[in-house]
Symmetry: D3
Subunit: 332 residues, 6 copies
């Protein structure tokens, strides 16, 4: 097993075509404005995905060169998602397209949705009405990807990638996705690419926590940067955090530090562990913090805590954290 | 086999709870306004389905008592579709709901879209850009329905239905749907309910024309009213029409009459055969006609031909024909 | 005089066609989005009415079988309101329609608005700008209803209704409406239907408090559940509450309890008295509570107080309270 | 009786504060975009009125100084209408405002809509679906105006007006409006102001044609310019035109000329008679022409006929004709 | 030098055509709804300008007779701005229009934007994302105005103006604008018109504070009412305020009083000095206060401080303060 | 002078990074929906430019690798344009950005719009109301570009470009743009890149036809493909076409052929000449054709003429012609 790259050893920009490459799922997001989904007569069209949001943040917010590794069906919705990703500055040339000719080839489907592009309907909530997301993702093209589908040697070896990231939605989304993720993190380290993963545990993706832990325990030894809050670390990796889920920030941070120390001990390959912290006052207002733990220095860096700030939409907050930390590392 | 009810023998309104009941598929329809789907950032929300549109037309346009027999997943999209159907005045109490608890029961699914509500993205086109529909319907709840799922005896026997209609999308949409449709048309006749079906052949639903013909040939003997244009009669029932697909209206109508005479001879149970006729000048303008053939009288009744009329949306024109003819019969 | 039904004696669902029936006014609500009405160039279309909102809540939020007893002019606006009510799952078959033929019959009007459907323009306010509603309801069809217009015997006797509700807007809206309301509450008790009424006093509907009190004092002896906050109890029924209008919640609740004890003593037929409590921090944020008093047990049940929660729209909060309590009773 | 001013004798601009003043009704117009009114969930807000549109056209399209004489209730809708009129450049300082204090004064009403601002819901139609307008105008403030309400001497005598116009909607809208209109046209001539009126007969405003004729025959002797097509001249003034209502343009124009010659003979005060001509191919496309008859010269001036031109909205076409001819006269 | 008019000596309404006239810049404001400008696909159209907002507030909010003195290019955008101003009730007849004929005359430009109407893109921000305005105002017609362009004698002498106001954006926007402003304030005093100016210092308009001070020190001796907070008084007039920029309200108000006393001593012509006070909690919520200092009485009048009120848009808060104080003075 | 590349000699795709590179201007396009610009309260945001549209068409419609050579100010509008171009799949890495720091460097400006991004307001017209565009482009960053600003050797020499295109808006937009264009077409030929230019003459860009001709005559000798209709060839190059501007298509095509033969004789370097042909029936309907002339073969290839087709928007039709022909050449 090759040595795991640390954040201190991220490759120089000049030697790589991409600052960041993210492997994962991306869906069309339909947002019913300020009306709950069941009553909506108009919806706004966005895109999003736990892993691909990291690439979007890198490219759009931080101006870095990022690409997504994902699969889409080559229909109008696939093109819509691609157009949005391109608009954000993300390189979409690595997307694996399933044609709609139903021609029997490996990357082929039909025009009926047998394989389809993932869709979610996300209502942002209001006051006491919580935000709510409905997923139509059980038959997406991305679930079909498996080890061997991506030419890692060209990507990591010839083109060059500074950071490779993936996450817990993709990892658990299908029987074959975990193998592809594992292949990816191994190959990345082989070529000296720094690897990040966000545990991002969702029971709606994989209700079986044991399977989640088993898979993530295979992947964790290849990571340089692990993103996960206390409940992710529990559900997807098996660590208990001493503090109550609703504990106030100060209490939480000290308990979290205790946990990540244990994680760092078990996975000495990790050079960074971190998470955002979010306390939702109601659907329109949150308190927001973040913390990064430098394992070698045994030092925790908290972001200033912002209390009761109005938000438009809470979805993707964790992805923006990962994107921000990685971009800071990449920009030095 | 019970005698097939003719249009002259439709039951009296007072003896029935429903004027019309339609068995079939209904989808959420997302319409990207005047921008092609791949570029859209906003969409409008409608609902529609080949068979259920007939029930909507009866209730909304003609004020009749109609219901739909369909299946939906009980999520926000299922509720949105239901709300729209209810708003149109359609009775939704017969809908078979699949819960999202994944509880292992027959009518249960999850929140991931393993079974989902059908969605289509329909752009109306403009000038030389044709209208375009993308279907995500391969994993819909309606496909799971099978013979035995509907209590026909209560519906046709106790509650009473004047007209039962179904169509060629539902009939061919899954291995089990044809059996349920066949069961329905048989049971309807058993209780003296008039039966209509629109062949509505779509290669995107069933590319195999032989299967389509085989199934429709089993259903046809139970129909009182068959809806289908020349290409439907060919693709879904096996009849050739002498005229060219692009033949002008007058040439077409005489060829069509010839064909339907043959059909009427083969299926003496049919008391009515008809279709709309549509010639698209471009995406914004069509010529529009319709014709009904009274088999007993051997007489064809054409609607006045309207030439070059602007349209907002061509989808569902055939359904409105069936709905209009049936409503005229029901209103006497 | 027949015995007044208590909440403990609400009829069983199986014996009734309707869980709830609401008698009252419903208007088209035009909402100018986030711009004050006088500057608006676009408006959103909703519907609403103090009494009918209770039926909507029962049907849409709680899935119960409810109907509205109201009158509408049979024009596009009347149909729009009906379509919205139907969409919410409310039975609209009992609506009394005024045709627009001006044919001299009792339920006839013209196309000019001589009788019209009520319209309100409701701006939700923002920060220091309060919400604002303008009513065009002085010539609505509902005002024409009078005793004798509704066949209570069929409704309460044959079809069966578990809860009948009305309220202080309808009761006072015209010289004849109070008589119809009185007839309704009497008939309901005759058939063992539980009766609820929300005092909902609005000086814009009836500026004369003496008339309001006189009428409500005639209706109160027939109620099982009386909804009204301290100012309603004063303006519409003549009771003083010891606490200041702007008193904090805790002070208010003890004073309110004192008042409702007096009310319960004067009207021993009442088995429940209650109200929501609302403190508006500004147009976007309220504190919200509710309380129900069980007269037989002499016990007050407060809902948890929610402080400073963002809201989209404050209109209809009281109606949702009544709807919620009734639905809880109906669902057991 | 003072001499009626001819179009040749319109006063010089410098001597007058206003180029045109229009007396009549104005309503808020709610337009449901491309969806029929009964299904609309959003509406666009415009304003309009048969007579006031003439003032708008003069001010907005032709840059002339115009004012409206109308009455509005001083609520948010009245202000919305006023804001729109002001935006179009129309002087709104002559509007008679009814306060909402219900203070018993002549120009006072309440906040309930006892007197209200007129509202119409106008759907533009599409293809075979005709445009459709629903009026809520039976209780508008403008109907309350009566002779004596306007200070004509200040307006025509001191401030100065070049053209005064009114029309057949206002004239017939209430028992008192005709008297105010008559007073206005008489006073205008007294001060040498040119007077125009558009017969604009609408059975929805006054179904009794005999009353319409009687009133218009009293007003006609005071007009310089009479606007009316063949059916207006029949319904509102009693003249038959030889041609069929659906006659083609050329046939129509010669028959119309015959009629207006008779009119000019009966009312020698008229110096101009004219109308637009409109043939609706469907809801989206019309053929459009116009004609003006110079009575003194016995000469008819047709505008070029435009065949099959797409239109967004046909409402107000006649008003724009009047506005255009008058502006041409005023600009010389 | 003529005596400077004090607020006690504002002319009577009857003797003046205008209550207020504002000299300054006005731009089209494009607002990308709730999406940052760079991602917006739709924008809302408003108008605004530091000085002209004062006239809008006077006319629209307070019903006073106000006019703007500004320059616009006579294209569709200029007309759009004018239409909006007219809709607000502002007299636009004094606007100096630059034609687009490029005819070589002083007030002429082309259709390419060589001189153009100012545009700004203003995103209101959300939570931690601050509001943001982008200005395209470097080549506006208003910058071309110079001393001599406005006929002050007719305006102040013949027509009569009660209050003349201008402000620090216009004053500094071009080399010639300051001279026109100076000419205006001098002429106003000559005719007994009360003069107000809002320092409104913006480094984006004039980064050179020395130039700003030099010009404002020339104008200040002609003002009756000076509007400016502590940083305006520093940047644009050279006074230090003892309190920290982020000082809490109470500390700030006492320091501010100290400063304005100094200002009043240096400019004894000032009868009033004042400002709004705004503390932004985040992009959606501010604390808001205001204070007016009566120099003769040496008395400070604070408005009640409102804490943490939600706002839609913070732009123009200071202009509304000036407009409110002036309107209060004008209404007595 | 190097030999001019012919369309037969376009380089192979594998040898080039770009299929097409377009040099020119791009603006934000604000579209007021269906309301004329002066009345609009909402606008839709697009982007467009005569030359850059060719790159967009290549990338978005034909899936080719294209880039734009343009200059933008690095503000929110510049980013909005870039995001849209990226969304269309265009490579934006060659854009020359002007920072807003006003730092005195060559590519620097301020935040006031001294240099700005071009904006146009384009109303599409309706029926008899023609479409209308207002340009604010006189101070755009692109006008500042001059010979030497682009590293042609890297682009054409190292990276490789199959087709280089520019056009008559950029060429004439500033004193320096023509030199940069000339430099570009020369360098392209030096490296064997095929060159296309659309004359696209607009009097609003350069009213002086003599200057236009002089410049285009310098550029023409370096082109392989010249795009221009008869009026372009006249205004921008000095050739007369025998047919009337309103001549029907058949008459026009034969006259056009005559002209292009003359052009081909004068510029033997041209291997292709062509244009679209458009006859506007009204603002909503056009007849549309196109023609390409192969100079070597002396053969004219007309596209099928489409008569009276509805259109949404006529702007950019010519650009789509150039884009289509070039893409066809590139795809072989």
């Amino acid at each position: 097993m090759s040595k795991v790259t640390t954040f201190q050893d991220i490759k120089a920009a000049a030697s790589c075509r991409y600052d960041g490459v993210a492997l994962g799922e991306v869906m069309l997001r339909l947002d019913p404005y300020d009306v709950p989904t069941a009553s909506a007569r108009q919806m706004r069209v966005f895109q999003g995905g736990g892993e691909t949001n990291v690439a979007c943040g890198m490219a759009y917010t931080f101006g870095l060169r990022s690409a997504v590794l994902t699969a889409l069906v080559d229909d109008h919705i696939g093109k819509n998602i691609r157009n949005q990703l391109r608009g954000a500055g993300v390189d979409t040339s690595k997307i694996i397209w399933f044609n709609t000719k139903s021609d029997g080839s490996r990357f082929s489907t039909d025009g009926k949705g047998t394989l389809m592009n993932g869709i979610n309907f996300t209502y942002n909530g209001k006051g006491v009405i919580p935000s709510d997301t409905l997923y139509y993702r059980a038959h997406t093209a991305i679930r079909e990807l498996r080890a061997g589908d991506i030419d890692w040697d060209t990507l990591f070896g010839q083109e060059g990638v500074r950071v490779f990231s993936t996450g817990g939605i993709f990892t658990l989304i299908s029987p074959t996705s975990s193998e592809l993720a594992l292949e990816g993190v191994q190959k990345a380290n082989e070529y000296g690419t720094f690897v990040a993963a966000d545990l991002n545990y969702r029971s709606k993706v994989e209700p079986n926590k044991n399977r989640a832990r088993e898979i993530n325990q295979k992947i964790a030894p290849y990571l340089g940067f692990l993103v996960g809050n206390d409940s992710d670390l529990h559900d997807a990796l098996g660590y208990e955090t001493r503090a109550d889920p609703d504990a106030p920030y100060q209490e939480w941070i000290s308990a979290y530090q205790e946990t990540v120390r244990k994680v760092a001990k078990d996975y000495p390959n990790l050079s960074l562990i971190g998470t955002q912290w979010r306390g939702a006052t109601n659907a329109d207002m949150i308190s927001w913090g973040a913390v990064v733990y430098d394992t070698a220095a045994d030092k925790i860096y908290p972001a200033p805590l912002r209390v009761d700030i109005p938000i438009a939409d809470r979805t993707g907050g964790g992805d923006s954290f990962a994107s921000g930390v990685l971009s800071a590392l990449l920009k030095g």
